[in-house]
């Protein structure tokens, strides 16, 4: 079973209604990842990338549609995108 990781508080964007997401496709559904992507689009995913070698879809979705996205057959996890920021204080010297 998949799960959600509600990570948008890290980005300081909890006031927004839309989030970038990464969607993991199940091993047994990787062969039909484009079909899974089509169903995800039908439930509100604005689909931007299909990473076939690691079985991941990228895009954005209304927060209200996260549950629908998770319920798509072949989807094992939906996670809201995090930001990376390197620590500059250790840089230099």
């Amino acid at each position: 079973m998949g799960r959600f990781a509600f990570g948008w508080d890290r980005r300081g964007t909890d006031a927004v209604s839309r989030a970038n997401v990464a969607i993991a496709v199940a091993d047994d559904a990787r062969g039909r990842i484009y079909e899974v992507a089509a169903v995800c689009r039908a439930v509100g995913l604005e689909h931007t990338s299909t990473l076939t070698d690691i079985g991941v879809l990228l895009g954005s979705v209304e927060l209200d549609n996260l549950l629908s996205l998770r319920a798509v057959p072949g989807v094992v996890a939906v996670e809201v995108e995090r930001e990376f920021r390197l620590k500059q204080y250790l840089w230099g010297g």
Partner: protein
């Protein structure tokens, strides 16, 4: 031949051209005694002495002959002692004898240099004189990881650096064949930050830099540069996942990604990254990431950060020139978020943007590409080891440290000899 626990005598050849101490321009391995430890198969038993004599012409005594006492006299060249109960032997073999043993099929499983060990009571503190330092020849990190005496260069191994890109015209990279892809909209893979050039330099910098000592581990590895962080060193999961996917598609054996974001104590790892990393491993790609720099030891230890906290990603902590865990290096506090290895991470010299050209920096970001470079050396030495097998090899060949596994994992990554 692959023996028990995946050991393989083929990975343990001494450096080409004989003993590292006799190679002009190369440093001896740190803290080596000059003797060799030989692991024999369990079936060798009483025949161990005969096997060593027949294979390499080494004269050996049995430890049982000493009735438990310490070997009374130092070994002479060509001599050794067999510890029958351990299935191991200690030899003072010359380079030809060592090579003969390393190539032996059958009951010789492994040959490696004997190292000095320290009592746990020292709590990881080496005497002042044991601290490594940069020399005219090489940065201290290459000495600590024995990359200098390694006969391999990473040739034929693809290493992806997921970072801020590369300064392609840097004197140490100009003219080198580099595959590059940007995942930052509106930007090429050109590095305008310096972090990416630095990390690429540590992992894959040249054997002979344009100026100064050598700092790169796998000098002949094939570089794949993915710009997944912008010029302010920021990025998102989507950029990074796209970079991993690109590296897997390009059959990179190793992905070094010196990036991360902090997690809370008790927080689990992200399922999507774990799945992506597991699929990358299955496809033959090992992902390597820094444990993070959030700690203030000894008072405060922060958990291994995202995405290094995924069990299928090799998490790398940092040590200093005395091989003590760096004060900022994160530890294994959360489920799955182990520290797998450590690498040199304090006062690390490498390439940076022109016109500065070189810079010194500290962080687990600097430790991770050391480990990535060593993984490339191991991958060249063992073409059969990819994905999970390469990851296992990386951990098995690490030098154990006195620091707890929470902070140092299996220990300091070591280049094959």
């Amino acid at each position: 031949m692959t023996g028990k626990n995946g050991y393989d005598a083929q990975t343990l050849l001494p450096p080409r051209g004989g003993s590292p101490r006799k190679q002009p321009g190369r440093c001896a391995a740190p803290r080596g005694t000059g003797r060799q430890l030989v692991l024999l198969s369990q079936g060798a038993g009483c025949a161990s002495a005969a096997i060593l004599r027949r294979t390499a012409g080494v004269r050996v005594a049995l430890s049982s002959d000493f009735a438990g006492a310490v070997r009374p006299a130092p070994l002479s060249p060509g001599e050794g002692v067999v510890f029958e109960r351990l299935g191991a032997a200690l030899l003072l073999a010359d380079p030809d004898q060592t090579r003969a043993l390393a190539r032996a099929q059958g009951q010789v499983l492994r040959v490696e240099p004997e190292r000095f060990v320290r009592a746990h009571g020292l709590m990881g503190h080496l005497p002042e004189t044991s601290a490594l330092s940069d020399t005219a020849l090489a940065a201290w990190g290459l000495q600590a990881t024995r990359a200098l005496s390694c006969p391999y260069t990473g040739r034929g191994v693809r290493v992806a650096i997921l970072d801020t890109g590369l300064d392609f015209e840097h004197p140490d990279f100009a003219g080198r064949a580099v595959a590059a892809q940007s995942f930052i909209e509106g930007h090429s893979a050109l590095d305008a930050n310096g972090h990416g050039t630095f990390c690429a330099g540590v992992a894959c910098g040249p054997e002979r830099p344009a100026d100064g000592p050598r700092y790169g581990v796998a000098s002949a590895a094939e570089l794949f540069i993915a710009k997944v962080l912008d010029d302010n060193a920021g990025g998102t999961d989507g950029n990074v996942l796209a970079g991993i996917d690109w590296a897997v598609r390009n059959e990179c054996a190793i992905v070094s990604m010196s990036l991360g974001s902090p997690v809370l104590v008790g927080e689990s790892y992200p399922e999507i990254y774990e799945q992506a990393a597991a699929r990358a491993l299955a496809a033959g790609t090992v992902l390597i990431a820094p444990a993070g720099n959030e700690s203030s030891r000894p008072d405060e230890i922060a958990p291994v950060e995202h995405p290094a906290n995924c069990p299928s990603i090799v998490a790398v902590g940092a040590v200093d020139q005395r091989l003590e865990v760096a004060p900022f290096s994160n530890g294994a506090l959360n489920p799955g978020g182990e520290v797998d290895l450590v690498g040199p991470g304090i006062a690390i010299a490498s390439a940076t943007l022109r016109p500065s050209v070189y810079q010194t920096a500290s962080g687990t970001s600097m430790a991770a590409p050391h480990v990535a470079g060593i993984a490339a050396l191991l991958a060249e030495a063992r073409p059969d080891a990819r994905g999970a097998a390469l990851r296992t090899l990386l951990l098995q060949t690490a030098q154990a440290l006195t620091a707890p596994a929470r902070d140092a994992g299996a220990g300091l990554a070591q280049a094959p000899q």
